[in-house]
Every structure is written in structure tokens, then in C-alpha cells.
Symmetry: C2
Subunit: 200 residues, 2 copies
Amino acid sequence: MAHFNSSDKPMDFDRGFVIDFDLKTGLSKTLETGKRYLGQMNGMFADQDAYDEKMKEGDPLIYEFHSMPVPETDGDLAFGCSIVNPGKVGDEYYFTKGHFHTILETGEIYYCLKGHGYMMMENPEGDWLALELTAGKAVYVPKRYAHRSINVSAHEQLITFFVFRADAGHDYGTIETKGYRKLLVEQDGKPVIIDNPNWK
Amino acid sequence: MAHFNSSDKPMDFDRGFVIDFDLKTGLSKTLETGKRYLGQMNGMFADQDAYDEKMKEGDPLIYEFHSMPVPETDGDLAFGCSIVNPGKVGDEYYFTKGHFHTILETGEIYYCLKGHGYMMMENPEGDWLALELTAGKAVYVPKRYAHRSINVSAHEQLITFFVFRADAGHDYGTIETKGYRKLLVEQDGKPVIIDNPNWK
């Protein structure tokens, strides 16, 4: 690239920088993704027998995402892509673990570049909603809502570009322990919402 | 769209919502763009004769952008697309007015969906840089840097998806009064940086 007077540091958060995120794949030549395999999500899918069965066949990659070394201040922004593979455990679609922000009063933007999925959200008071995403749709995740991306396509990855306040932090523990109140499962070839039988 | 338990309010910043931004055009069926015509940018291009000449032929649309009715808190995020048309005033490429954030210590993300351009940035101490953007490149605009999008393509729009802290605010006045220290102009068919002869 022909930048003018740019920094010679990669990802210079003080002076600015450009980074690539392929619009078709979500991947970057500059920044590796973190990867979440099924084996790292034990207990998170409702059908444990289906989980055990699937693990016997291997340990599939469920999703990947960029984690940027941004200074964790309230004036900086973290960003990158999230890529959820297609697939199911039993009748439950592949999803990201999902998280609250540690600073609960911060929102997040996800802009869908490719695929078909849902953003499942719920707040500590029990309000929940699941919003449908396709390419060219952006979802506003409000303050106080845990959020999880779910891929409902049989074939295609769900790729989103996300931005959040760099100091927001991730609280994964609450969701890992309690689960979500609602699940998105396939019935008669279509995504439907059911109560989570394991919700604590 | 088949949302589950979604709000019946459009753009519900309390419970979340989905909004469309076409990946090819940057436009939304839900939210009109604000529009900046050349007549609203008098004095901002270096070549005033070329400006006057161009205004005689009409008043071309230079750029448009989404301005979202988001609550201006430090936990919310504003987002949308910016669309800069191709063209020049004299040898100076079309650009957005550019602005500092009123809360100077807040950054911004621009993710380029289409086109070819530059993000011109400078801070109050006089440091400046101009970073090249093409489709699939994201630019990190750091805290304290004024920023302006410049379209260097002869034919194509420059389309970016942007996100910033909803309370950041826009200070256009400083740039309108002082200008940028540097200009991006075309010489021998290529973009080059020159000193702004009108910089105060």
C-alpha cells in the first residue's frame, strides 16, 4: 500500500494503521484468528449424547475470531471478524460461546458480511431476543445484553465484522455456568426457539 | 426478516435491532443519508477558481453519510456508511469535510467496502498521516486525530462502514477554519501530498 507518512510500527494505536479483513472470508493476512473447537465447549450444547458422539469423530472447529492487542481504554475500539462454521450438535446450530461485557453498560456492533444466522441476546433481568442476520445487515447489541452468534446455514460460514469499546471486557463465565434461557434449534428444516432444559 | 421476540420499535437502542446497509452501495432502506453538496463546502478546496467554475455548472453531490439517532452515551456506539463520490476540484480529489471528535480522546473505525481512497489524519500537535484504503481494508483512526475520507478513484464511489462512541461528537469548525496541513492532489495521474497553501 502507498501510505503517506505512516507509522513503521504494525497496529500503531497511537498514530493509526490499516489492517486487512477479507470481505469474503473474514480472514486477515496481518492478524491470526483465535480458534474455538468443539472440545472447548463441553457442556454448552443441550444434547450431551450428540456432543459426545461428535467428539468421537474428531474435534471440529466451531468458530474463529480476531482478538486485537488494542489498549483497553474507553476511548479506543476493538474490532475484527467473527467466523462461525456451519454445523449442528444434535438439532442445535453451531454458535459462539457468547458473553456479557465486563463493563455491562457497553454495546457492540456486528455487521454481517456473509451467511445467515442469528444474534441471540439476553440481559440479566431475563429479557431475550434473537435477531436474524444476512449479508448487509448490521445488528445493534445494546448495553447489558449477553450476545451469541448462531449460524443457521447448512453450508455457508456466518461472517461478521464487529466493533466494541476496547475496555468493555468479556465475561464468558456467566453464560458457561448458567447457559442462555433460550436455544435455537432446527425443527422441520427451520430455526425455532425452545426453552433451554439445562438453564440454571 | 424472521426475528424472535424483537422490539416493535425501529432502532430500539435499549433492546437491540437490525438495520440494513447494502454492501455494494452503502445505502440503507431504513435510514436516509445526510448529503453534502459542493455549495456547502465553499472555501474548503484549495483552488477557489476551480471551485467557482464547478459551481457554475451545477452543485454536485460530494458525499453522503448516515447519522443515527443513537443516545449520546459513552456505552452506545454510532455507526453507518459514508459514501464519497469520485471527482476533483482542480487537481484536488473530492473529500469529506473531516472533523475532530469533540471528546478528543475517542477513536473511530472505518472499514472500506468498495473503492479506493485515503484517510487523511492530523492531530492538534501537527502530526499527520494519510493511509490508503481499498475494499477489505479497515483503518484505525486513533484518539486525538481529525480525519477526512478522500476518494482518489476516477470512476468509483468510496464506501466505508464506520463506528464511533456515540457521545464522541463532531467538531467540524476547527477544520473549516484552519484547514488541514496537507492536501492530496493528483499529479501525473497519481495521488501526491502537498502542503496546503491556505493553512492557517
